[in-house]
Symmetry: C2
Subunit: 352 residues, 2 copies
């Protein structure tokens, strides 16, 4: 028997049910812009140590909620824990970002990849989810997440972050069947991973397709969207009698909203390169929208933060179906005071 949520605005808005005001959470709200996060990170040792320690992952997940009255918590983790659990050997080079010891380059490599059991190889994530739910104690919902298959594939094939995805594109164009085999395997892993998060207590889940925008339109459908659709079709959509909403977010994918609507998600994430009024018109009443303030607005002063946030709120002219967020993760150099102003602005606003 689960305690009912004290604040269920996020879930209601994602499901386009009536809300008293627009809910807000912030991508990467638990992160480097918070001094308390940096302190915990130092205490943990490495970034990976932090991800793999449920108590510390829980602590940093809750940190932004102690500062700001956010309408949701999001699990602190990294999208690359899944490929790590698939045996690629994730590590972080100082100042260089993520690396894999054993990147995937051939069909043989792909066939060798295991589909991990999330309660075994990714147990530390599930333990964090359970712990966070307990600590949240019904205050706000907890969002779980995963990277999209295409996005995870770029890291798994490159072995690192990339600008032009040379090896990944080489595989896509040169050996499309091998790429499909890889994406299928990742999709199976992600489906199991998100379902395990839902069973452990995640009340909504989001799929981050950070690099879908690097594809041609045709390849976006074939190599990214199709696999997200497959994952969504395989997700538990109800847990403890409550609907579990799914958010799909392709950065740089604003041109393809009409296709994204078909993927079966309850909501679509928007980056800041699209006008939310146009997006709302294009998707109609078939999905909710999440976004879409330029994260760089937070570099400016409070007046600008208020004006730009209000502009988005005013553009979204419906009584529900909007979750306020940034169009991408918050930058590490942002002053937390700007976030306080943003949250206050959104929470004071009422649709006329």
């Amino acid at each position: 028997m689960t305690k009912p949520l004290a604040n269920d605005r996020l879930l209601r808005a994602l499901l386009r049910q009536p809300v008293d005001r627009t809910p807000i959470w912030i991508m990467r709200q638990a992160g480097r812009y918070l001094p308390e996060y940096r302190a915990t990170r130092t205490r943990a040792g490495s970034f990976l140590d932090l991800c793999q320690n449920p108590e510390l992952a829980c602590e940093v997940t809750l940190q932004p909620l102690r500062r700001f009255p956010l309408d949701a918590a999001i699990l602190f983790s990294d999208i690359l824990t899944v490929p790590d659990a698939m045996g690629l050997g994730l590590y972080f080079e100082a100042g260089e970002g993520p690396r894999f010891r054993d990147p995937v380059r051939s069909l043989a490599d792909i066939e060798r990849l295991p589909v991990p059991d999330p309660e075994q190889e990714l147990r530390y994530v599930m333990d964090a989810v359970r712990l966070i739910r307990r600590e949240l104690d019904g205050s706000v919902p907890l969002i779980g997440f995963s990277g999209s298959p295409w996005t995870l594939a770029t890291y798994m094939v490159e072995g690192a972050g990339s600008r032009d995805f040379a090896e990944t594109k080489r595989l896509l164009y040169g050996e499309p069947q091998a790429m499909h085999a890889l994406l299928q395997k990742i999709s199976a892993a992600v489906t199991a991973y998100l379902n395990a998060q839902i069973q452990a207590g995640a009340q909504a889940v989001m799929i981050f397709d950070t690099w879908g925008g690097s594809l041609t339109p045709r390849h976006y459908r074939e190599f990214s969207l199709a696999y997200m659709q497959r994952i969504i079709a395989g997700l538990l959509r109800e847990q403890d009698g409550e609907r579990v909403p799914v958010v799909l977010f392709t950065k740089g994918g604003g041109a393809w909203l009409e296709w994204q609507v078909e993927a079966g998600a309850d909501a679509l994430g928007l980056d800041w390169t699209i006008d939310i009024a146009d997006a709302a018109e294009r998707v109609g009443d078939r999905v909710a929208l999440q976004g879409n303030l330029d994260p760089s607005v937070l570099y400016a002063g409070d007046d600008v933060v208020r004006a730009e946030a209000t502009r988005i709120l005013e553009s979204f002219r419906r009584p529900t179906g909007h979750v306020f967020n940034l169009g991408h993760g918050i930058h590490p150099g942002i002053d937390p005071e700007r976030v306080a102003t943003l949250v206050e602005t959104v929470q004071r606003y009422r649709q006329p």
Copy 2:
């Protein structure tokens, strides 16, 4: 009295005049993927030495034309020569990309910036243009170019390449009037620079808006497109009795083609994230289109290069108004043999 062009397909296609076949050139066709370029670069010393030496700049401009029967030459230079001439002190840190010794951060910095005389501070570029025209000897047209004001501003304010444009966005959101003052000054410099290139012999010019796609739609119009429009309005559009076509290219700007059409360019560049058939339908017969093969296709084999190039040619269902190109600059790791295959494929193709 100028010699008439032996091959004027590029100019004709940009002006939507009849052509026997689709012309092709390749962004960054003179570049690191060519061993002869790397040899000249080594001989020159630094990249900047190469840009500033008209004889060597001419040599590398012509190198790709000796290998491939391309339909145009493009001036070898760098978009950052203009801010360098404005006194910012361009230098290159080994393995780190471009840097400016004196980035622009305040209105006082901006007001202090001179608008350079292209025949003085950028004389080495004009000398290269004159030399290249002489060496081309009427074989194919020479394309001149500049970065867009917004794109140049990002480097001038950051002092280097950037991922999130923190300082530039801080200025845009926090001090929009200062940003406008900067963009006005850059626009004046770019207009003079492109007109000097035209007078020195550039037969078409292209404006590269590499970072326009980092803006919100509203800010794209206000801070990037408006200034490109202003520049285009100030360009010499005829030289030696010939029309000088202008190409405008915003990477990541496919959602904004309808606005770009209004800027007065003869052609719009497309990256690979948009279907050229859709783009053609959206712009109608008001502009030509240039693009839009994913540069990463060249990592695959010849069969894939042929198939993907043919797909684009077939999608563009009009008798003229298309210039084949990549959707962005060619990657340094590409095998020149793939380029040979691409050029041959495009040049053999005939619109049914």
